[in-house]
Amino acid sequence: MGVFENPEKFEEILGGFFKLVGDTPLVADKLLTSGMIIRFNYTDPDLILVIDCSGDTIDVRAGDTETKAIVEMKMKADIGHKFWFGKVNLTMALTRRQMVAKGPVPKILKLLPAIKPTYAMYPKYLDENGYGKYNIHS
């Protein structure tokens, strides 16, 4: 079994984290400038999360399969979890198709510097919100 017991728990944790990211100006301002709409398609357990940066604020929606995303990311939940700790070699994950990214590459690349601060935020968020057992650093 993977890190997360079920889709509900995964949504609770990752959805909550994405909302925190959306409320953090250091990251959110750059994401909003990009105007991106990103759909994360997670498996094991299955979850769809859309991060919509096309408006004035960042909107996080679970289960949204209707919105036309600019970037589609597909990966296992465990890879997604590890990624937010900065523990996934992004190039390797993409080469070995542990992550599949579809969309305009220059726009995807532009996002990378913006999300770097989230690596430090994720373990802190887990610890502060009662999800400490999911923190791989603990």
């Binding site: 900065g86 070699n89 190039t91 390797m92 994950a93 990214a101 590459v105 220059p106 510097p113 690596y119």
Partner: protein, 626 residues
């Protein structure tokens, strides 16, 4: 012969004699091409007199294409050069793309072996069967851009096809120890001072044009494979990144893992990093894209700075390595100045990695008070001083003032500045390390340490595999899930060297444009082109032999176990950031590596290992070295 032009040129600059010899089919099959040919021919030439100076007439210079060079395919336009390195004193080689290699094969030659030295400046003119050494007095002293433009005009009417030029600039003539060979203004055989070898031989340039065609053994099979590859390339995000922003896309990716050296390897994070990233590059200096022969990846970018202190005409843009050496390494966030430094390096013909790293080293010496404005001729070498960086690049090219000290490379500059400066070195075997931090991926540390030409990310495929750009499922040691730290890195390095020698040294695939290829497809390409029936085992054995030859040459020239270590600067853990506390365990990795490779306590290959690979002549030369 399918895939090959069928002849090798031998040019003796001392006597002026030029001969062409048919390429032997058995030799081709056994050595593939590129450095496979180069190392074998080098061994034959130096056997009688292995003790020579890199700047002497005795140093052979060998330029070789591979069987794929000149094919209309992605990622196969490359070719190789080799000689003893004037920068390190050990084995030297470099790998370069563009159109020159293809043109040489269209002229009828798989490679050129240059021996001796001329007593006056010459250039080699090749137009199919017409091969002549000509006086280069009119070009000597001129920069690379001028020579390229002028020679193209001067020789156009004497050419049967479009001419291609490989030349040195003033840095090579002035014997700057990291002088490079430049083709078409921006393609560089950059590392280990191959341009310096030409300068010492008074060889200014090679002009080549040809009108022959290359044959392929199985064109229908190749066509089918190319169709299959088209889809694979279209799906590769790595290729898409190269196409959109070139190698500088690594500025965005590398910073995540702490791979980018900053302030002479003292930092891995910097708030100004975005000013050097692909977004700013596109906004400020981007001026178009170019490509190598037959390659649809087109990762080469053009740059232009229209006004200001760093104004430059439209020309080759800095690659990632150059942006890092003149940018992050020097704490210089001015991308226009980086583009200008790159232009000067291209015009003078200098390796941007060694040049930028040596300036970063000097900046640290300046900061720590080991040198002052009196030494530097008034230049204020404080971190981030873009104007001083650019001025110093030019001084190095001219061997002027303090530039003459830095023109020797950072390791030699310590002799002038003083031993305290050794603490700031980033060299292995005297070669400045490339812009990928082994503290972020420990296998790079071993790769730099045991690379026969010195610290280098192109000396094997370790960087591509551990970094993640390549995946070779047919070779277990190149497909395993690596644990964190230094474990399993020796196995990784050995396999990445053996396969890498085949892939990017002999065949010769591009380490960028060839990344989507697994072993099955890479072997299919070479078999379809040549008609040989290579197996992976056979190619790994050939690759292994090439690695031992290169290693043996460096041993022969004096490299031993001490030269396999990383400098203290690269072994200093970072206090924070993505690589916090992480340093490669070189003792562990080297011990495992020596065991697998069969190296003795001095780092020299054991005789039985060499004999098993048919390298008796190398074993004879090395006997007594241990």
């Amino acid at each position: 012969m399918n895939g090959y032009a069928g002849k090798i040129l031998y040019v003796n600059l001392t006597s002026g004699q030029i001969r062409s010899k048919p390429l032997d089919r058995v030799f081709a099959r056994e050595n593939i091409g590129g450095l496979g040919f180069g190392t074998r021919i080098f061994l034959d030439i130096i056997q009688q007199n292995p003790d020579f100076d890199a700047l002497s007439a005795e140093n052979p210079f060998i330029l070789m294409t591979g069987p794929l060079t000149g094919m209309h395919m992605d990622g196969v336009a490359r070719w190789t050069v080799c000689a003893k390195s004037p920068l390190t004193g050990f084995w030297g080689d470099a790998n370069i793309g563009g159109h020159f290699g293809a043109a040489l094969k269209f002229a009828g030659y798989d490679g050129i072996v240059i021996t001796g030295a001329s007593d006056h400046p010459v250039f080699l003119f090749i137009n199919n069967d017409t091969v002549e050494l000509r006086d280069a007095g009119a070009y000597w002293g001129k920069d690379v851009y001028t020579v390229t433009d002028r020679m193209m005009t001067d020789l156009k009417t004497q050419s049967s096809g479009k001419g291609q030029i490989l030349t040195i600039g003033p840095a090579g003539e002035n014997l700057v120890r990291f002088a490079s060979l430049i083709h078409n203004k921006g393609h560089a055989a950059g590392r280990t001072g191959m341009g310096t070898v030409w300068g010492a031989k008074k060889l200014k340039a090679i002009y080549v044009s040809g009108s022959n065609k290359l044959s392929v053994a199985h064109p229908a099979r190749l066509k089918t494979l190319r169709r299959e590859l088209k889809e694979i390339y279209e799906e590769s995000i790595y290729i898409a990144a190269l196409q959109s922003t070139g190698t500088t896309s690594h500025m965005d990716i590398g910073i995540l893992s702490g791979d980018i050296p900053i302030k002479n390897w003292q930092m891995t994070e910097w708030e100004q990093i975005d000013k050097l990233g692909p977004v700013v590059i596109e906004e400020k200096i981007y001026a178009g894209r170019k490509t190598c022969f037959g390659c649809g990846v087109a990762c080469k970018k053009e740059a232009e700075v229209k006004k200001g202190a760093f104004k430059m005409k439209k020309g080759p843009a800095p690659e990632y390595e150059t942006v890092a050496t003149f940018g992050t390494m020097c704490l210089n966030a001015d991308i226009e100045s980086v583009a200008k430094a790159n232009e000067i390096c291209n015009c003078y013909g200098m390796d941007t990695i060694s040049c930028g790293s040596t300036i970063a080293f000097a900046m640290e010496c300046f900061e720590k008070g080991l040198i002052d404005p009196e030494d530097t001729g008034g230049l204020d070498l404080t971190w981030g001083n873009a104007r001083a960086i650019v001025e110093m690049v030019e001084k190095i090219g001219k061997q002027e003032g303090f530039g003459a000290v830095l023109a020797q490379g950072s390791a030699r500059a310590v002799r002038y500045i003083g031993n305290q400066a050794a603490a700031f070195l980033t060299t292995v075997k005297g070669l400045e390390a490339p812009m990928h931090d082994p503290r972020s991926a420990h296998g790079y540390g071993l790769a730099y340490g045991v690379s026969p030409r010195g610290a280098c990310h192109g000396a094997s495929l370790t960087f591509e595999v551990e970094g993640g750009a390549m995946y070779i499922p047919e070779i277990p040691d190149l497909a395993m899930d690596l644990p964190e730290g230094s474990r399993d890195r020796a196995k990784l390095n050995v396999a990445a060297q053996d396969y890498g020698m085949f892939f990017s040294n002999c065949a010769i695939f591009c380490n960028l444009g060839g990344t989507p290829l697994d072993a099955t497809r890479a072997i299919a390409i070479i078999n379809h082109v040549t008609g040989f029936d290579y197996t992976l085992d056979e190619l790994m054995r050939i690759g292994r032999r090439v690695w031992y030859l290169k290693r043996g040459f460096s041993n022969l020239f004096g490299a031993g176990v001490l030269e396999d270590n990383l400098p203290p600067r690269l072994m200093t853990p970072m206090p924070d950031g993505p690589t916090k506390g992480s340093v490669p365990d070189m003792n562990l990795m080297l011990a495992e590596f020596y065991e697998i490779r069969g190296l003795d306590n001095n780092g020299i290959p054991r005789e039985k290992v060499l004999l098993a690979l048919g390298l008796g002549p190398l074993a004879n030369l090395l006997r007594g070295k241990d």
